[in-house]
Amino acid sequence: MEEFFQQLTNGLAVGGIYALIALGYTMVYGVLKLINFAHGDLFTMGAYLGFTLLTALNLAGRFGPAPGVVILLLMVMGFIALVGALLERVAYRPLRQAPRLSAVVSALGASIFLQNAVMLIYGARSQVYPQNILPMVGVNVFGVYIPLVRILIVGLSLVMMAGLYLFIQKTRIGTAIRAAAIDQGAARLMGIDVDRVILLVFLLGPALGGTAGVMVGLLYGQVNFTMGWVYGLKAFTAAILGGIGNIPGAMVGGILLGVIEAMGAAYISIAWKDAIAFCVLILILIARPTGLLGERVAEKL
C-alpha cells in the first residue's frame, strides 16, 4: 500500500510537469495547427537557466528557500517566454501561408538548433541542481513518507494550471485565444488581433514549459540536454491523450500519463518505461485520435 502511494504521488508530480509542458503544445496547436517541436527544448532551456540562476545568483541563500524559488521561477518564466516569442517570429511567422509541412520541418530545425545551442553553452554532461535549497523534509500521509519537494511540485503545477484555466475562460484575451483556436479567419473578422493572440500563446506556453524545466531540476536534482526530447515527446503524448487543442485535456492528459507511467514502471518494468508512453501515443492515434476530451480530428477526409 505504501508503495502504491509513493508511486501515485510520484506519478502526480511527474504528471504535473508533463501537463505544464503539454499545455504549451496544445495552445500552439490550437491556434496555429502546428506541432511546435521546439517546445521541448524551451523546457530544457528553462531547466538549465534555472540552474545557472540558482548557482550564480545564489537566490536561495539570499532570499531564503521559498522566496528564492519563487523569484527563480518568475525569472525563468520571463526569459523563456521571450525566447518563445522570438522563436515564433523567426521560424514560424514567415511560414504562416506556406504548406503546413514546411512549418513542421522548420519546427524540427528550430528544435535541433535550440537543443544544440544549449549543449554548446553548457556542455554535454548533465548538470546537478543544488540539492539543499528546499528543506529535506517530508510529510507523513497515511503513514507514507512523501518528500516536501514532490508535494510542492504537485501543488505548484495545480496552481498554475488553475490560473491558466481561469485566464482562458474568464478574461477577454483568454476568450480571444479560444476564438482564434476555433477559427482564425472568423476571429480576425471579429476584430481580434490574431498576431497578438499568437504572441501571447508563445509567451504563455514557453513560460509554463520553462517552469516545468526548473521543477524537474528541483525534483530530480539533475538536468541534461537531451531531456527536452524525452519530456517533449511524452508531453506531446499527454496533449494528444487529452485531445490536442483542448486545454483542460492537456492537464488531464499530463497527469494521467504521469500516473500510468509511474505505475507501469513500478509494476511492469522500468526498462520499458519510455516505450510505454510511445505505445500509448500510437494506440491513441490509431484508436481514438480525438483524445479523451478533444474535438480535433487527426485524420483527413
Binding site: L34, I35, V90, A91, P94, L95, A98, R100, L101, S102, A103, V104, V105, S106, L108, G109, A110, S111, I112, F113, L114, Q115, N116, A117, L120, W229, L233, F236, I240, A271, W272, D274, A275, F278, C279, L281, I282, L285, I286, P289, A298, E299, K300, L301
Partner: protein, 326 residues
C-alpha cells in the same frame, strides 16, 4: 562530327563523375575513404527515404528503425547460422519491408504531422526494444559483434577502399533502380497523392496502397543498406540507430533537395563531408543544420537542388503535336 546537344552533355556527365569517383580511393588515405563510405551509405539511406518523404510526401522520421531491422537481421543470421552476409541481402530487404508493412498499415491514414510523430515513436520503440534485448537475440545495449565480412565471388571485402567500391556500386545501382521507379506509373502515383490525396483517390488511385508501398520499398532498401553497414562495422549496437540518425537522413534530403537523387547525393556530402572538412564546424554542425532547415523552408522549400520536372517524349506519338524533348 559529334553533335553536342543538351542531351549528350547530360549523358557525358555520368561517365566523368563515375570515373572521378572510381579513382578517388587511389589518391586518398584510409580515413578519407571511410568518410566517403559514410557519404555513400547515407546517400543510399537518403534515396530510400526520399521515396517516402520527397515523392510520397509522407514525413517519416523513424527511418533508422528500418535500417536497424536490416542490420540486425544480417548480424543475427550471420553470427548465429554463419550464413554469408551477401546472401542475406534479400532477407534483410524482406525483413525491413515486412516490418514496415506491419507498422505502417494501422497508421497510414494519419494526417501529415501526426504520422510524423508516430514514426518518431516507432523509431524509439525499436531502439528501446533493441537495448532491452527483445526476444533475447539482439544483444542488448552492447549489440552484436563478430559479424562476417562480405565476400563477392570469393573475394573478401575488408579494407575501406574495398568497401568503397561495394558501397558506391550499390549506390549507383540504387540510383539506377530508383530513377526508373520515379519515372513510372508508380512514381507518378506517389506524386499525385503527395499533391492532393483526395483528388488522387478521386482519380482512381488506391491511395492507401501506394502510401504503404512507398514505406515498404523505402524500408526494404534501407534494410539492405543496413546489411552493408553491419558487415562494414562488424559490430552494431542500438546507438547507431537513434532518432538522430533518422533526423540526419531526413535533414540531408530536405537540405540537398527532396524528390531529387542528385540533391540527396549533395545532401549526403554536406551532412557527412562538411563536418569532416571543418573540424571546429563538427561541434556546431547540428546547430548549423538546424538553422539551415529553418532558412531552407523559408527561402527555398525544395532544397538546394529541387526536383526537376519529368520529361516526356511527345513527338511521334499518335495525335501528338507537342515539341519533342528528351
Amino acid at each position: 562530327m559529334i553533335r553536342l546537344d543538351q542531351r549528350s552533355i547530360t549523358y557525358l556527365w555520368y561517365p566523368i563523375v563515375a570515373g572521378v569517383l572510381a579513382s578517388l580511393p587511389m589518391f586518398l588515405n584510409a580515413y578519407w575513404v571511410d568518410v566517403l563510405n559514410s557519404v555513400g551509405l547515407y546517400a543510399i539511406l537518403g534515396i530510400s527515404l526520399n521515396l517516402i518523404v520527397g515523392h510520397a510526401g509522407l514525413f517519416n522520421l523513424g527511418h533508422a528503425a528500418f535500417y536497424a531491422v536490416g542490420a540486425y537481421t544480417a548480424a543475427i543470421l550471420n553470427t548465429k547460422f554463419q550464413i554469408p552476409v551477401m546472401w542475406l541481402m534479400p532477407l534483410c530487404a524482406i525483413a525491413a519491408g515486412s516490418f514496415a508493412l506491419l507498422i505502417a498499415r494501422p497508421i497510414i491514414h494519419l494526417r501529415g504531422d501526426y504520422l510524423c510523430i508516430v514514426t518518431i515513436g516507432v523509431g524509439e520503440i525499436v531502439r528501446i526494444a533493441l537495448i532491452n534485448n527483445i526476444f533475447g537475440i539482439t544483444g542488448g545495449a552492447n549489440g552484436i559483434f563478430g559479424i562476417g565480412r562480405p565476400s563477392v565471388f570469393g573475394f573478401v571485402i575488408r579494407k575501406p577502399h574495398e568497401f568503397f567500391y561495394l558501397i558506391w556500386i550499390f549506390l549507383a545501382f540504387t540510383i539506377f533502380v530508383f530513377r526508373r521507379l520515379e519515372h513510372s506509373r508508380f512514381g507518378r502515383a506517389l506524386n499525385y497523392l503527395r499533391e492532393d490525396d483526395v483528388a488522387a483517390e478521386g482519380s482512381g488511385i488506391n491511395v492507401s496502397h501506394y502510401k504503404l508501398a512507398a514505406f515498404v520499398v523505402g524500408a526494404a532498401w534501407a534494410g539492405m543498406a543496413g546489411n552493408i553497414f553491419a558487415a562494414k562495422m562488424t559490430t552494431i549496437s542500438p546507438e547507431s540507430f537513434s532518432f538522430w540518425e533518422s533526423v540526419l537522413v531526413f535533414t540531408l534530403i530536405i537540405l540537398g533537395g527532396s524528390g531529387n537523387n542528385a540533391g540527396v547525393l549533395l545532401g549526403a556530402f554536406l551532412i557527412v563531408g562538411l563536418p569532416e572538412l571543418f573540424r571546429d564546424f563538427a561541434n556546431a554542425r547540428m546547430l548549423v543544420f538546424g538553422a539551415a532547415m529553418v532558412l531552407m523552408m523559408i527561402f527555398r522549400k525544395g532544397g538546394i537542388l529541387p526536383a526537376p520536372q519529368r520529361k516526356y517524349k511527345l513527338a511521334g506519338v499518335t495525335g501528338g503535336q507537342g515539341e519533342g524533348r528528351g
